[in-house]
Amino acid sequence: MLRYLPLAAMLFASSAFAQEEVALKPGPDLDAVTTSCATCHTLNYIRMNSSFLTLDAWKAEVSKMREAYGAPIDDQTAAAITRYLSANYAAPPKS
């Protein structure tokens, strides 16, 4: 129902309640994460699911957002998001 609205208007219209500004860890590819993920949900979903998901599990989450939830994210952006999440919010590699 909101497909014709520009992004900024859509975000405003869809939030009935005030939102906390979430600061994720600084790092390469952070822009790809904030632009893509925050369209539909708080960035706290990322922090909440840390630090136990592995690189592969984060990759699966990004795929789920694209395939199941219809997030308009291209391959290049998806790779950038996965790089950022695995570098900043993933489980430490098993020794």
Binding site: L2, F12, S14, A16, E20, C40, M48, N49, F52
Partner: protein, 404 residues
């Protein structure tokens, strides 16, 4: 009512969620929660609510603190809030709400306004637990992805409204109807995201206990608990309790929706089920349906100091509608158990309060746990039945206190 019309008023009705001063109000969080979850949690007060534990503000996901379960009826102001999708009509926009009932396996279609739901049908009351399928997901070991709920994504209320089957009788369900499909006024941010649609098998939809609630504990439904009307499916997890329900369709086909066929699934046969849902089963998974037998110690709180003269262990127990036969309490981490006293029976789908007075205690550490058994003879699992979505965790919770 078209969704476009409902959303039109949203821009002017942004309501600030008032952040509680976390330092002023302590809230207990399970040490089993993921580290990142413990970092994001805040106590926050939504409009019309008391402070709840915020997991997320968009979409809103808030659970009740454990202290809310010291009574078998959960106040509306402490009732948990859970949304998948962030486009939620403002309460003003719901003033023009109506409900369409019909479908391919119905003789006719009707549209009902709130007053018609409340005056055109027999009004029935049911006390029932509304529990998120993912309640306690954050305690799963190993952790699984999702909203990392602790113990409070549940509540018990007295719901009132017409029986779903009486409303369906007005449209005439045909003999070949197999499911009833539901949609609510909330929806996705992006048109490409699957809207939240759910279905019930026809036999559950027609069950005596299933109603369309227009009041909750004698008051209006709070905005974020489904105002003005929600489906109440006693015994089944909250995923079927469609909030702001706008459409009820009788169908001769299984609902083909992400929210039925991909999400809310459990391994086939892992958990006890009274009413199967064969039109949504596949070879390896079933839809989550019946709530498992469970209990919660609401007092004392983990990590507190208690008097050696003794104290009262109290909490609630519940199941999918068989009713609670017994609750036992252990003070030694499950080595030995004593039967607790059960409170008033509010009905088979409601919380059943329990209390146990410890008597005098030697100074030292005590590991409290509770364990419920239902009238079908089922008891809480001693060991987690791990499943990929972290559902149905009914392992007795551990509450460590020091008597001094």
């Amino acid at each position: 009512m078209k969704r476009r019309d409902m959303l039109a008023g949203l821009g002017g009705s942004v309501v600030a969620a008032r952040a509680a001063h976390a330092a002023d109000q302590s809230v207990w969080l399970s040490p089993q929660l993921p580290e990142g979850t413990r970092d994001v949690i805040r106590l926050e007060t939504l409009p019309g609510k008391q402070p709840l534990i915020r997991l997320a503000d968009r979409p809103p996901n808030y659970e009740a603190p454990i202290s809310a379960f010291r009574t078998p009826v959960t106040p509306n102001e402490q009732f948990f809030v859970r949304y998948h999708l962030a486009s939620i009509p403002a309460i003003d926009a719901l003033g023009t709400w109506s409900l369409t009932v019909g479908g391919e396996a119905a003789e006719r279609q009707i549209t009902l306004r709130l007053e018609e739901l409340q005056s055109g049908f027999e009004q029935v009351e049911v006390a029932a637990v509304c529990q998120c399928s993912g309640n306690r997901r954050g305690l799963s070991s190993p952790h699984v992805a999702g909203v990392e709920w602790g113990y409070g994504a549940m509540g018990c209320a007295t719901w009132r409204g017409p029986r779903l089957r009486d409303v369906l009788a007005k449209v005439g369900a045909k003999a070949d109807a197999i499911e009833v499909w539901f949609d609510g006024a909330d929806g996705p941010v992006l048109a490409t995201t699957p809207d939240f649609h759910k279905s019930l098998p026809i036999h559950k939809a027609m069950a005596d206990e299933v109603i369309i609630a227009t009041t909750m504990n004698g008051g209006k439904l709070p905005h974020l608990n489904g105002y003005p009307a929600r489906v109440v499916v006693p015994g089944w997890t909250a995923t079927y309790w469609m909030k702001h329900v706008t459409s009820i369709q009788v169908s001769r086909k299984p609902l083909d929706s992400f929210w039925m066929q991909k999400a809310y699934r459990v391994p086939a046969g892992m958990f006890a089920v009274d009413r199967p849902f064969p039109t949504q089963d596949n070879a390896t998974t079933w839809p989550i349906t019946d709530i498992v037998v469970n209990s919660l110690v609401a007092d004392p709180i983990d990590g507190t100091r208690q008097p050696v003269d003794g104290f009262t262990v109290q909490g609630v127990a519940w199941d999918r509608g068989h009713g609670i036969r017994q609750v036992e309490v252990s003070l030694d981490g499950g080595e030995t158990w004593k039967p607790a006293d059960l409170g008033k029976d509010l009905g088979p789908f409601a919380f059943r309060a329990f209390t146990l007075r410890t008597g005098k205690l030697a100074p030292g550490k005590y590991a409290i746990a509770s364990r419920a058994t239902n009238n079908a003879g089922e008891t809480q699992a001693a060991k987690l039945k791990f499943n990929p979505a972290g559902y149905h965790n009914n392992v007795p919770q551990q509450v460590a206190v020091t008597a001094a």
